[in-house]
Structure formats: structure tokens, C-alpha cells
């Protein structure tokens, strides 16, 4: 049991963070808070990727005399791309929220739904 928790702590951390983010995305009423949740959700996945690049006893992947094993740099490179994607998604989401705020005068989801229900959304 302790082996399961301590030996695989990186997975526990990523799953916990991911669920916190997921919860915020589902349950928060404020559009900005949902995006904060989304960022936590995505960051959890980044941590997962970074942790799988770890090779026990490995050093930084730079060729030098005396290096026996290297860490695997590929997951790190992959996640750089995913970080860029995450930043762009956040930017698009913020742009949308700014326009929603201008059009509806609020960024609370229940208020927006109420306004949509009253009007036709034109």
C-alpha cells in the first residue's frame, strides 16, 4: 500500500491536480474561474509528461564524458508544444470572455443563461 502511494507519487500528484482542475471547470459559475480550472487541468498533464521523462540515475541529456545514462528529453520537448497550445487556448478564452462581458454585462454563467432564455440571443 505504501509502495503504491510513495512509489508512484508522480501519478498521484497529477491525478489529484487534474481532478481539482476538472472540478473547477465543471462546477464554477464564473467564466474566469473555469479557465483557471482549465489551466490547472492542463498543467497536471504537463507534470505527468515531464515525470515520465525521468530515467533513474540519468543526467541531463548533454553528451559528456562519464555520463552513463541520460534522461529522456523527448517528453519535455513534446510538452513545450502542449504548453504553447495551452497558452493560446487561454488567450482565446480570455478574448471570448471580454466579448461576453461587453455583450452581456456579466461573466457569471447563470446570469448569462438567464439573459439568453429571456431574449433570443440576437
Amino acid at each position: 500500500m505504501i509502495e503504491l502511494i510513495l512509489g508512484k507519487y508522480n501519478y498521484w500528484i497529477y491525478i489529484t491536480l487534474m481532478m481539482i482542475g476538472f472540478y473547477a471547470m465543471i462546477s464554477k459559475n464564473n467564466l474566469i474561474k473555469k479557465i483557471i480550472g482549465m489551466n490547472i487541468f492542463q498543467t497536471a498533464v504537463f507534470l505527468f509528461y515531464i515525470s515520465i521523462g525521468k530515467v533513474s540515475g540519468g543526467t541531463a541529456p548533454i553528451v559528456w564524458d562519464g555520463a552513463v545514462r541520460y534522461e529522456n528529453p523527448l517528453p519535455h520537448v513534446l510538452i513545450l508544444t502542449a504548453i504553447v497550445v495551452s497558452v493560446s487556448t487561454t488567450a482565446v478564452a480570455f478574448a471570448l470572455i471580454i466579448r461576453i462581458n461587453r455583450a452581456y454585462g456579466t461573466i457569471e454563467e447563470d446570469r448569462i443563461l438567464e439573459i439568453n432564455r429571456q431574449g433570443t440571443g440576437e
Binding site: 471547470m25 482549465m38 487541468f41 492542463q42 498533464v45 515520465i52 508544444t81 487556448t89 439568453n116 440571443g121
Partner: protein
């Protein structure tokens, strides 16, 4: 190095470069933006056609980026399956880009038009990239490119409800893409490779590993969200209803089809059929879900009063057909499912283009206000009617061909109980389209109106698509032969 050798890369790079060129060109003259978009999508279509043709002649084409041999480098590959989907998507992208000119002038604020075309070309880049890539991480990157440009396009109109629809799509789309990313990470953990063919080779020894099962679960949920399979379709109706007409047309005709393609690619070539049936009951789960999607999509469509929303719910049902055909896991049904990718793209494209032309002229979206429209816009409504008959599955239209193959495939695999599902849904489809046809042809308008047909720039693409609905319904041998080859390939699990 000659040009033809680089065609697999150019399919994606031409629209990508055009997306970069459009904003500066649009500063010089607004007209340039549209010309560049049309030229680039026409080029992509021509290249796709050439690629499919050479695949049919010589077999799979593999392209190595920077000449790095796979699995180390990124590989682009064209085979029967994605050559076929590539041609479908690039063709629709071309037709809609021609159509977009008038409709965009009407629906998008003038200072945003240039950026609209730029985002449109990025969407096309993403969709074509998803189809052609043979590298699973590259697939994720293209999914995000197409999704991000999709969110901006949906929100680009003047309606404020579109903003909320786009925001909700963004949240769910990100969940989907992140799940796919996690799936990729788990596969990489146990195999150490990202190339699809290499993964397919290494995975069978690991089929019972818990990590592979987790990856499979993430892929299933992520991709089902992307293609809007029934319980995960909630982002779709609002997005299609409030988006500008041209955007609804391209997303409905190609966006979800590309999701379906990605599902087929991962579930039948990266994982093999053996895994889907014997290790996890994937095909069984999908059979149930898709049948529910087919019925529920049609039932919900009957209940709608807004015509665009009705078409969106009908898409939920039609996506069910594609998944049903694939999960029956027989050659005929699989061919039917692939044909439905082409056929649904054609008929949904026709319907959304016709509705867009109608909205452009009249602004009407409510079904009850369509009275007498058949006299006011005879050609547009004729195209709409052809699309509607095709959705119902009337013989001599494309809808009949693919439904026939799926039903035949269900009988062939001994699962006859899916035939009534197809029949009931066709009946419901007839019900919800009949309401419209009755209104436009058999009820006279309150004010005797004059004819005011849509402008030629919108009418010609709409009629072209409607014509193809009939053409491929009567002369189905070409798409059928390609789909059968692709189906054979998918079920054998070869790349």
C-alpha cells in the same frame, strides 16, 4: 527534390502559408483575402485529388519530414482511407470558401473579414493535418489548430449567443484534446514511440497492460467528444446554430467527419480490431451508443423549431451512422460507414449552404415562417429538398447508398436488429424534413412575394453540392470501390 514528391506536405502547408499571407494582403486590399483563401483551398483540393489518384495506382505514400526516417522523424502518409477523406474535406473546404464571400460580407463586421479568412484557412490546415499525419503527437497538434480556429470562427459573427456557444465548445474541446494528449502520453510510456505504424507493431504484446487500457479509455472519451457522439454532443447544437452560415457549413460537413476519421484511425489501425473486440468490448459499447445516437438525434431534431438547430441535431444522428457502420466490424458495413463520411459531408453541406442562402436573403430561421419559400427562392429550395431527400435515404441520392451498405453490413454480420434502428431513424428524418418541405412548397406565403433568388456566388456552390448528392447517388461505383478498399485495409489493421 521535385514538387510532386513534396505533395503530402504541401496539402497542409499551402493553406497554412495562405493563413499567414491573408492578413498583410488584406491590408492592401480587402478583396485579396478572399482570392487567396479560394486559391489556396483549390490548390489543396487539386493536390489531394492527385495524391488519392497515385495511391490508387501505386499504393501507400509515405513522406518523411526533413528526410528523418520514421519512427524517429515525423511521417505523413496517404493510403486508401485518408486519401479518400482528404479529397472529401479539401473539396468541401473549397466549395465553402467560394460560398463564403457573400455570406461573410453579410454576417461578419467589415474590419474582421480579413481575419475571418485567415482563421478559416487555419481551420482547413488543422483538418487536413489531422487526416494526413502518421504521427500521433502531430495529430494532437493539428486537433488543437483546428479547434482553436474553430472557436474563433464560431464567435466571429455578430450574435452574442455565439460567444457563449464558442466558450462552451472551448471548455469541452480542451477537455477532449487534453484527454487525447494523456492517451498519447500513456502509449508513449510503454512503447517509446509516437509513429502510428510503429505503435501498431509494438502494442499487441502489451494489450493487457493497464497503461494501454488507460490510454485506450482516454482516447475513446476524447475522440467521442470531438466527433460529438451522442451523450457528448452537447457543445454542438448551439455552436452550429449561432455560428455564421459558412462556418456552420464547414464545421458540420467536415469538422465532425475528421473526428470520425481520427477515431477510425486510432481504434482500427493503431489498436487492432482484435483489441477492440477481445480485450475491451469497444465495438459492443459503440454499437449501443451509436444506436442511441441515431434514434435520439432524430427524436431531438423533430422537436426543434430553429432550422439550423434541427440540422445540428440531425448531425448527431448521422454521426451515429458512421460509428455504427464502423463498429459492426464487417467489410460491407465499414465501407458503408466510410461512404457516409463522404455522403453526409455532401448532404449536410448542401443543407447548411441552402439554409445560409435563405438566411442571407430573408433572415428567417424559424421553420414555421418558411411558408411559400419554394416560390420565392426556387433553386435554393430545390437544393435543400435534394439534401433533405438524401438525408431521408431516398433511392438515387447519396444517403440511400451508405444507409444501404450499413444495413446490408448489419445483416451480413448477423446483427439484423440494427436494421430497424436505421429504418426508424429514416422515418423520423422524413418527419422532421417533411415539416419544412410542406411549409416551403404546399403553404402559400402571407404576402405574395416576388422571386428573390440567392446571389450567384452562393447559389452555384449550393447547386453544385446538391448535384453531387444526386451524381454520387446514381453513379456510386467510384466512391464505393475506394471505400471498399479502405474498409478492407482498416479491418485487416494494416497501415
Amino acid at each position: 527534390m521535385n514538387l510532386v514528391e513534396n505533395f503530402p506536405a504541401l496539402v497542409v502547408i499551402v493553406p497554412l502559408i495562405s493563413a499567414v499571407l491573408i492578413p498583410p494582403a488584406g491590408r492592401i486590399s480587402k478583396a485579396f483575402a478572399w482570392y487567396i483563401a479560394v486559391t489556396a483551398s483549390a490548390l489543396s483540393f487539386a493536390i489531394s485529388g492527385f495524391l488519392l489518384n497515385s495511391v490508387l495506382k501505386t499504393g501507400r505514400i509515405s513522406y518523411w519530414f526533413g528526410n528523418w526516417e520514421p519512427p524517429w522523424g515525423i511521417e505523413y502518409a496517404v493510403d486508401y482511407l485518408n486519401g479518400f477523406v482528404l479529397v472529401v474535406v479539401s473539396f468541401i473546404a473549397f466549395v465553402v470558401s467560394v460560398y463564403a464571400k457573400k455570406s461573410v460580407e453579410d454576417e461578419i463586421p467589415e474590419n474582421k473579414i480579413t481575419f475571418f479568412y485567415s482563421a478559416y484557412m487555419l481551420l482547413v490546415t488543422g483538418l487536413l493535418g489531422i487526416i494526413i499525419t502518421a504521427d500521433i503527437f502531430n495529430l494532437y497538434v493539428f486537433i488543437e489548430i483546428s479547434s482553436l480556429s474553430g472557436y474563433t470562427l464560431i464567435a466571429s459573427g455578430r450574435r452574442k449567443a455565439a460567444l457563449v456557444a464558442s466558450y462552451n465548445y472551448l471548455i469541452l474541446g480542451t477537455v477532449a484534446a487534453t484527454f487525447i494528449l494523456l492517451g498519447i502520453g500513456h502509449l508513449y510510456m510503454v512503447t517509446g514511440t509516437l509513429n502510428m505504424a510503429d505503435l501498431a507493431e509494438r502494442l499487441p504484446q502489451l494489450y493487457h497492460s493497464k497503461v494501454v487500457l488507460t490510454a485506450f479509455a482516454f482516447f475513446t472519451v476524447g475522440l467521442s467528444l470531438k466527433l460529438a457522439l451522442f451523450p457528448l454532443h452537447i457543445w454542438m447544437p448551439n455552436a452550429y446554430t449561432y455560428a455564421p452560415s459558412a462556418v456552420s457549413a464547414i464545421l458540420a460537413a467536415t469538422g465532425t467527419k475528421v473526428g470520425a476519421y481520427a477515431l477510425l484511425r486510432i481504434m482500427f489501425t493503431v489498436f487492432k480490431l482484435d483489441f477492440d473486440i477481445h480485450v475491451v468490448p469497444f465495438t459492443k459499447i459503440m454499437l449501443v451508443l451509436s444506436s442511441v445516437a441515431i434514434i435520439m438525434g432524430s427524436v431531438l431534431a423533430v422537436a426543434q423549431t430553429n432550422i439550423k438547430r434541427m440540422l445540428a441535431y440531425s448531425s448527431v444522428g448521422q454521426i451515429g451512422y458512421i460509428v455504427l457502420g464502423a463498429s459492426l466490424a464487417g467489410e460491407t458495413a465499414m465501407a458503408g460507414s466510410l461512404l457516409h463520411i463522404l455522403n453526409h459531408a455532401l448532404m449536410k453541406g448542401t443543407l447548411f449552404l441552402a439554409v445560409g442562402a435563405m438566411v442571407y436573403r430573408t433572415g428567417i430561421e424559424d421553420i414555421s415562417e418558411l411558408r411559400g419559400m419554394g416560390r420565392k427562392m426556387p433553386l435554393t429550395m430545390a437544393a435543400f429538398t435534394i439534401g433533405a431527400f438524401s438525408m431521408i435515404g431516398v433511392p438515387l441520392t447519396v444517403g440511400f447508398v451508405s444507409k444501404w451498405y450499413i444495413a446490408l453490413g448489419a445483416l451480413e454480420t448477423g446483427m439484423w436488429y440494427f436494421v430497424p434502428v436505421i429504418l426508424i431513424s429514416s422515418l423520423l428524418t422524413a418527419v422532421y424534413f417533411w415539416r419544412i418541405i410542406e411549409n416551403i412548397y404546399f403553404k402559400s406565403a402571407e404576402h405574395a412575394g416576388q422571386v428573390f433568388e440567392a446571389p450567384a456566388g452562393m447559389l452555384v456552390p449550393t447547386l453544385l453540392m446538391a448535384g453531387l448528392c444526386i451524381f454520387f447517388g446514381t453513379a456510386a461505383s467510384l466512391p464505393v470501390s475506394v471505400a471498399q478498399k479502405a474498409a478492407k485495409m482498416l479491418l485487416a489493421g494494416v497501415m
